[in-house]
Amino acid sequence: MLLIHCPYCDETLPELEFAYAGEAHIDRPADPASLSDEEWRDYLFIRSNVKGTHAERWRHIHGCARFFNALRDTVSDEFITTYPAGQARPDLTIKEAAE
């Protein structure tokens, strides 16, 4: 079972307490009526589907109930980091350069 660190509980806990909630950092358009059909389609359905590091939302639904974000490697399934909702995506190049 995956172990996931909840940034609000500050504990690393079993996957069974969590729910996946799709790609992170997708802003809802402020004025949907002004969008073309293609732009609206892209907002609703088009996702990056990366092979590698993916920023995604998770919810600690059977715990503190909060949504948060995670960087997960879609190949190895490794959780690289998790961070509170509303924070910018962590820049991993800084971390890598330091190592």
Partner: protein
Amino acid sequence: MTLHDRDLHGATVTIEEIPPVARFSLRVRDKDRAAAGAALGVDLPDRVGDRAASGDRTLVCLGPDEWLVTAPEQARDGIVRDMAAIRDGAPHSLTDISDREITFRVAGPAALTLMTIGCPRDLRRLEPGRAVRTVFDTAQIVLWRDGPDSFRLDVWRSFAPHVRSLLEIGRKEIAAGF
């Protein structure tokens, strides 16, 4: 942890449904927390899983802005009244959820082992005196650790027969010496 980590020969565990209490779900923003604590007479604990109690009122921090308030049933109206008095200055939501859950107590030398049959957490790391929301065989529960060998499970009413019967199966297996 597996059943084999501890010598359970002759170890026992009891499962009982305990009498109902008044339960409230309290949601309040950071800036109004102190006012809510003053009204309840208990400071709101701020770490998820921490408890605080004063008099007959007990609070558990379930999430960053969510607390469970419990008290004897006769204290219910007093809690509603105390919180209503601060509503204008400290907006919050206080929802009576008393009847939503049934509470089981699981206690005895084999209590920790019995909990591992349904709870995916490493419960050795849940210190006595804390309480957390988690799952027991897919049913969401609030798990209170009252002592090294004493737990309480608040189980949603419709899941209670399933949780109870699973606990009974585990208890019988432990008693049979597995």
